[in-house]
């Protein structure tokens, strides 16, 4: 029997690693990878709470919420990568620091 | 349950008793049994591939009016073993600039994806790797891992042809997943569960007679997922010289080769389980070993049919392939789901004659309507195509008489 805290600790560690990836990496696609990791950590959290607190009463909230997170992640990745490719075609770079034409 | 009727369960019980007698807890005994089962289900299909390659080459030769391998052993039976020895001893030539991780990981993923499917197939009423309640989706998920292997092979080879082949291959594989999943929804609807054990067990009448439209869509999509003719753009020898596996030699290429042939057999196995009734047959409930034999017979019949399709049809172009997928198969699969759902709800449940006839008639009607629509589309398309010129008669000059030629020469 695995206590609830183990899953939550794993999810917190993965979230922090994803956050570190988003903040320190310069390549836009690497930032997207960090965002995917954060979304997965949130998903682990959702399913853990569903299993331990909601599943015994037959409530399916957690699974539906996790499915919505999947949908949002897929949509956001597709549009984000389309944007990155479009930017690459114009500016020949995907480094996030170089995209500063709107800077004051 | 005696040894003859049900050998696998007999052995499992015996092993459980022996291992429990050694003092291991039941959790570890289960773990060891699962590990043994996994090893068997991995090694078995790989050994089966040796026979499959021979069957494919011999039958392919016969389809093409030639003999096939017939030198090494009677009827060329040991040809595969000779080929295996050759592939084992070939040198691994890694291209300069190839990414080592990607290059070496691709064949592993390709073979692993195919072997993973064997874990959920019910080989008989009691022999199966595991009985997860999302077996149908699991097959799709494992197929997705195989696509990852293809794109890694294309990316990691540092070769333009491999890259091009990899791109086209992944585009084809991802596109054909859609009608495959939609066609797999129809047996799930009819049997009420996604687990393969339940689908195989619920087929008192084989689903290919109830929903031939979905069976046809799944068959075509499975051939396309495998990368066999007429969808073998992935390794079109005459166009892109072996496609994404051009830089592989030795056993790494052997792994891709094995994955290709085993995937055909596995597709036939999945089709037999889901649409032909799997291990169902006379006496399969009391004697599970008979169920295994029935499944193998059905699989071999479907496999020979797959070979027949492979060796007779020419290859599709990439745009024709995409057109077939998005304009024909996906709408047909969605229409099959709609029609089956409506007819299923309107007729009384169970396997009564009314339900069988209604489903069969509606599906065949759907196929006939699709046939007519495709014919109309093709005729309209041809009418719109510009005709550059009609056929010209070839004008041949009459031969000069011999005397004139001699006059000119003199």
């Amino acid at each position: 029997m695995i206590p609830l805290s183990w899953f939550l600790i794993l999810s917190a560690i993965l979230f922090i690693i994803g956050l570190f990836a988003v903040i320190t990496r310069k390549n836009s696609i690497a930032i997207l990878l960090g965002i995917e990791l954060m979304l997965n950590a949130a998903n682990i959290n959702i399913i853990t709470f569903w299993r331990y607190l909601y599943a015994p009463s037959g409530n399916l909230d957690g699974i539906i919420l996790a499915l919505m997170v999947f949908v949002v992640a897929a949509a956001e990745t597709a549009v984000g990568l389309g944007l990155i490719l479009s930017v690459y075609r114009r500016r020949k770079t995907v480094v996030a620091d170089d995209l500063d034409t709107l800077k004051g | 349950m005696s040894f003859v009727a049900d050998p696998v369960t007999f052995i499992i019980d015996w092993l459980q008793r022996v291992l429990g007698g050694w003092g291991l807890s039941s959790g570890w005994v289960q773990f060891i049994l699962f590990a043994l089962g996994a090893i068997l289900l991995t090694v078995g299909p790989m050994l089966l591939t040796v026979g499959l390659i021979w069957v494919e080459r011999k039958l392919g030769g016969r389809f093409q009016d030639r003999l096939g391998p017939n030198r090494v052993g009677p009827w060329g039976v040991f040809q595969t073993i000779a080929d295996m020895l050759k592939i084992f001893t070939k040198e691994y030539i890694t291209p300069i600039g190839a990414d080592k991780v990607l290059y070496n990981l691709a064949p592993i993923l390709a073979v692993g994806a195919v072997l993973g499917v064997w874990a959920v197939i019910p080989l008989s009423s009691t022999i199966f790797g595991t009985n997860i309640n999302v077996g149908v989706l699991y097959i799709m998920a494992v197929g997705a891992i195989g696509e990852l292997g293809v794109i890694l092979a294309g990316l990691g080879s540092n070769n333009k042809y491999a890259l091009l082949g990899g791109f086209r291959a992944v585009a084809q594989l991802i596109s054909y997943e859609v009608p495959m999943v939609l066609a797999l929804l129809v047996p799930v609807m009819l049997s009420g569960s996604m687990g393969l054990n339940d689908i195989a067990g619920a087929q008192k009448v084989a689903y290919v007679f109830l929903v031939p439209a979905a069976a046809l869509v799944f068959f075509i999509a499975a051939i396309a997922e495998n990368g066999r003719a007429p969808f073998d753009l992935m390794e079109a020898d005459s166009e892109i010289v072996a496609g994404f596996n051009i830089e592989y030699s030795g056993l790494k290429f052997g792994m891709f080769y094995v994955a290709d042939f085993l995937h055909a057999f596995t597709s036939a196995l999945v089709f037999s389980t889901i649409f032909l009734g799997g291990w169902q047959g006379p006496g399969a409930e009391q004697y599970p070993i008979l169920g295994f034999i029935y499944l193998m017979i059905k699989t071999v019949i479907v496999y020979v049919f797959l070979l027949g399709v492979r060796f007779t049809l020419p290859r599709f172009r990439i745009d024709q392939m995409m057109a077939v997928n998005w304009k024909l198969l996906t709408p047909l699969a969605m229409a099959a789901i709609l029609v089956t759902a409506i007819v299923d709800k309107l007729t009384p449940g169970g396997f009564g004659l009314v339900r069988i006839v209604a489903l069969l008639v509606s599906n065949v009607g759907l196929l006939l309507i699709t046939n007519w629509l495709v014919g109309a589309y093709v005729r309209a398309h041809r009418a719109r195509r510009q005709v550059v010129s009609g056929p010209r008669t070839v004008v041949v000059a009459p031969p000069k008489p011999v005397s004139e030629a001699q006059e000119v020469n003199a």
């Binding site: 029997m1 390549n27 399913i47 399916l60 990745t77 | 990607l102």
Partner: protein, 172 residues
């Protein structure tokens, strides 16, 4: 230490190792592959939580579609500059702040009384996949999120095609 706890610890170690390697990889393709391994680990965690449908959907959607999309994008935007987390001048400070955030979160977590609760066994009737399907189209259930997510997907599809389209006549 029961068998499930051992398996969970092994899986968690692999997942965290893969995530760390993803952050510290210099080549982007390797980072994408480490992310794929991490996603496999997350799918295994879902399997341990007896959410079998979510496990399979994770493999199909993330590894079978999103990872391949990322690999395509990495291939199409290959530049010679190697990216590294040390490229950011303040990476050490960021790491320390991240660790502090982690510590704070875990500290706050352990003040919750139910944190060490164990799971109750679920019956097979509760694990039926058909319940999810029925809930997704039930008017008293989750039909509005289902339809909303389909609208979101159509919008994302059209948006991605439009954004990524090469327009004729534009200067390259």
């Amino acid at each position: 230490m029961t068998l499930m706890q051992v398996i969970f610890l092994a899986n968690a170690l692999v997942t965290i190792f893969a995530a760390l390697m993803m952050v510290t990889s210099r080549k982007l393709i390797h980072a994408a592959l480490w992310l794929v391994l991490c996603l496999f680990g997350v799918a295994a965690v879902f399997g341990m939580l007896e959410a079998s449908f979510i496990t399979i959907v994770q493999i199909i959607v993330y590894i079978g579609a999103i990872a391949i999309l990322i690999l395509f994008a990495v291939m199409l935007t290959q530049n010679a500059v190697d990216d590294s987390y040390k490229g950011n001048r303040r990476w050490l400070m960021t790491g320390l702040v991240a660790l502090l955030a982690l510590g704070g979160t875990l500290l706050a977590l352990f003040t919750w009384p139910k944190v060490a609760s164990l799971s109750t066994a679920l019956t097979t009737a509760q694990l039926d996949i058909g319940l999810i399907g029925q809930a997704l189209v039930d008017p008293q259930g989750y039909v509005i999120p289902c339809e909303g997510s389909s609208l979101l997907l159509i919008a994302a599809l059209i948006g991605a095609i439009y954004v990524g389209m090469e327009r004729k006549g534009e200067e390259k």
